[in-house]
């Protein structure tokens, strides 16, 4: 009986340690990975109210941010120069890089705001490299496209997180 109790006690201690380690690994920034995948799980959690506010904004005042995001998704995988020309033309008609900064300022979720600004920078780099006649720029295109794809993935994951929290 005593041996059984001792075994149970040791098992409980080990479980507690594992629990503390697991909790501790995400405690730096109050991470909340509910429904998130990949790197988005390292982002801090959001309240339901903040998530709703952010998502409402993306559907209304900040809708042009989604135009940028759609363009980024299109160019996030082996874009041709025709793809780049079409995307640049459309974007320049709809929303300028400067306007993206202003629209991002309205996003009250700090990680999503940062992710959108990073996507803007990566998208600008892809377009600049893709449209450049400099052979060096073309050679680096694949690298910047990968960075853009990572940026768009993170935005998608964060939006998923916010939708999960909003319910």
């Amino acid at each position: 009986m005593n041996r059984t109790l001792a075994l149970l006690f040791v098992t409980a201690v080990i479980a507690a340690i594992i629990g503390v380690v697991l909790l501790g690994s995400g405690s730096d920034d109050d991470s909340a990975g509910s429904g998130a995948s990949g790197q988005a799980s390292k982002l801090p959690g959001a309240t339901a109210t903040d998530a709703a506010t952010t998502l409402d904004y993306l559907e209304a005042g900040g809708a042009q941010l989604l135009l940028m995001h759609m363009a980024a998704l299109e160019l996030g995988s082996d874009p041709s120069s025709d793809d780049c020309n079409a995307a640049a033309e459309r974007l320049n008609r709809e929303v300028s890089p400067e306007e993206i900064v202003g629209l991002s300022a309205g996003v009250n979720d700090a990680p999503l705001q940062a992710a959108l600004l990073r996507e803007r920078d990566q998208l600008a780099q892809v377009l600049a490299h893709c449209l450049s006649e400099n052979p060096g720029a073309a050679a680096r295109l694949e690298q910047v496209v990968q960075a853009l794809a990572a940026a768009t993935d993170l935005i998608d994951d964060r939006v998923d997180q916010l939708e999960d929290v909003r319910g």
């Binding site: 991470s31 995307a87 320049n92 300028s96 900064v101 202003g102 920078d121 998208l123 780099q125 600049a128």
Partner: protein, 487 residues
Amino acid sequence: MTTSRTWAMLWLLLGTFIVTGAPAFGSFDHPTVWAGIGDSYSSGEGIPGARGPCQRGHHQGTDATAWPVGAYELLIDDEAVVFQGMGLVACTGAITDDAEGQLDEASDRLDRSEFEIVTLSFGGNNIGFADVLLGCLDVNNLPWGALDLPGGCDVSEAEMRDRIDMLAGKAPIGRGYRGSVTLPQLYDRIADRVPSGGDVLVVGYPHLVEEPDRWPRWQRTLLPYCQGIQKRDVPLIRSATGYLNEQLALAVEDADERHHDEGIRFHFLDVSRDPYEFSESPDDRHALCSRDPWLNGLTTGISSGTLRKERSFHPTQEGHRNTARVVADYFRRSVRMDDGAWELTPIGIGPIALGMSAEEVRALGIDLRTERGPFCDAWKVPGVTGIRMAAPRSSGVLESISIIGGRSGAGGVVPGDSEAELLNRFGARLKSAGRFPELNDRYYRLYGNAGETAVQFTVDTSKGEVAFEEAGYVGQFYYPDGNELCA
């Protein structure tokens, strides 16, 4: 009466009159006027409710309170300086060249050509800090596909330092600098509008973005942006702010040297440390991407949805409130509201002048309290501490004002001042008036222009510092000339 007996009597009397608390008072012959000049960091831009083309936060139907207004309100609430008023004339976008125009505006508004207190922040717009930030954000009207690569700030740290050197007058003005007035020129022009005894307080700039090592982990590693500023650009921005504050401090120190003899003191307050980054504790740090930022990040207009370039990266009301607190504390602690009041004849404290009767003082609306002593009445004004006013019963009027410690003084002399510095400053005007070895003191007197009034003080020879001071009509002091008022 022997000297020791005189001292014994003096301390007996002081025992009756000493009140606790540190003094701060104005002894100008007119109430103090405060001009709040400067740029957007002084005007209050960034505070909801800041109004007009200058974005001034001075109430006007809102709660917006820029730090000069907040500090003024703190000082009139709990200090005994008699203020006539303050004019917040700082304006968003202002450069050093605009200072004189702002002082003219303050003159018109306050009906005074000179200001006993001038506070300011200038320099950020001369070096184009706002444009530098917009460059860091790549807010530059370029179309997609032409955005500058690799993104981020467009100027180097060396270029920023060059511009700051131009501002400080250490390098010829050239590319990247706005305006033509350097800091030494600015401070000299301001000094022309400040009377002897006045004070000029220059306030530095806060660091906009927290050190990246202190950002939350996700921001350090996953999304290295803080309000659109890339992590790699933060050292440049912080370094430029630090160097700007350093050069402001040095220029202020030089201005103080130049104008000290005129009785005008220049002071510098480095708000980047206090209140914005007061310690290493996260609770005491308030730049962007800290736990509790006191600056606006990227800000959009509610109606337009576009970036409000002006309001972004400016202190919030909380930032202004805390800066006001630090400024008010600095004034209480370090600024001598009455230094250089030497030319005043008759000498007085605020609206109270020597020679006035208690009735005359009360007629000014002052809540004067009197305490009856053996030979004199002691006068007290609630809130005015560390001051002893004595009216001998024989005359019934104020004949002596003594400063019994703390931060205030008259004639440019304050308890705690260095004897060597005073001898250097006043030269032959400072008359030695004997020594009392048994008291370990030296004794000096400084006569007013007309010779009717004087400040006299003792120096504690063990420290070489002013220990006790009094001011009044010549012949009405306690010691050592035998005219022992109230004794």
